[in-house]
């Protein structure tokens, strides 16, 4: 079964060259989590234009979607969300004690699958942006 393991302080990012796969998974999960919660506040702010009526809502959304930078940032958001979802599923299994011996491989699989999904989604996300 599980053993106590002194991994040192993962919060000490100065040690990043010593980080193992599981520690990188922790760092990436934190980073993507911070981005997603920040985006959630931004998202509700933008959608709040609906309180001023259909015109304000439509103008805001079409204005934002008309910016190539926003469309590119949406691809970044997709990457962040897909990784957080896939690594989140991995964490739920780890918490249940399933696949502990392959937790490094499942982290690499999360990264690769995120990359594949994001690359495959680029044409849809950037359609008509340029």
């Amino acid at each position: 079964m599980s053993e106590s393991y002194d991994r040192g302080l993962v919060e000490d990012f100065g040690r990043w060259t010593e980080f193992s796969a599981g520690m990188w998974a922790w760092v990436f999960h934190k980073f993507t989590g911070w981005v997603l919660v920040g985006y959630l506040f931004t998202h509700i702010s933008v959608l709040s234009t609906s309180l001023q009526g259909a015109q304000a809502y439509n103008n805001t959304l079409s204005g934002l979607e008309g910016l190539a930078l926003v469309r590119i940032l949406e691809v970044g958001l997709l990457a962040v969300a897909v990784f957080h979802i896939l690594n989140g599923i991995r964490l739920l299994f780890v918490d249940l004690g399933v696949g502990l011996e392959a937790q490094d491989k499942s982290f690499y699989a999360s990264l690769v699958l995120t990359g594949v999904i994001v690359v495959a989604s680029v044409p849809t996300f950037l359609a008509g942006a340029f």
Binding site: L40, L47, S48, A54, G88, D95
Partner: protein, 120 residues
């Protein structure tokens, strides 16, 4: 062997809620992205379409639950990350208050948006 990198104290109520909301959010966040980027493209979204979706009771309820669970999961995640970084005492209490109030305001505003779109 087993390396545990969680920011959460195992066995606590918030630990359990973080995982329960995670299981829900995995499904609903994927649905949300798929629905509003692939079924309907983001650049096609207009008030009328958002209104039509939100007027469906099941969609409205799902989105409000999505808002509440995502807010809890996000705010609780940030709080635990800060605790993990070593904040305690007054800083910890301030984080609880600021994040708690921010979370409540976000849910209230999000429900107002959902109600405006649903025509309530």
């Amino acid at each position: 062997m087993a390396e545990r990198y969680s920011s959460f104290r195992s066995g606590s109520t918030t630990w359990l809620l973080q995982r329960l909301t995670a299981a829900f959010l995995v499904v609903v966040l994927a649905f949300h992205f798929f629905n509003l980027h692939f079924v309907t493209h983001a650049y096609e979204i207009e008030f009328a379409g958002s209104q039509a979706r939100m007027e469906t009771l099941g969609y409205y309820v799902t989105m409000v639950l999505f808002l509440v669970t995502a807010t809890f999961h996000g705010v609780n995640g940030v709080y635990n990350a800060l605790v993990n970084q070593g904040i305690d005492g007054k800083a910890k209490r301030a984080a609880q208050i600021v994040l708690g109030v921010a979370g409540i305001l976000l849910v209230v505003q999000g429900v107002r948006v959902a109600n405006a779109l649903a025509g309530f």
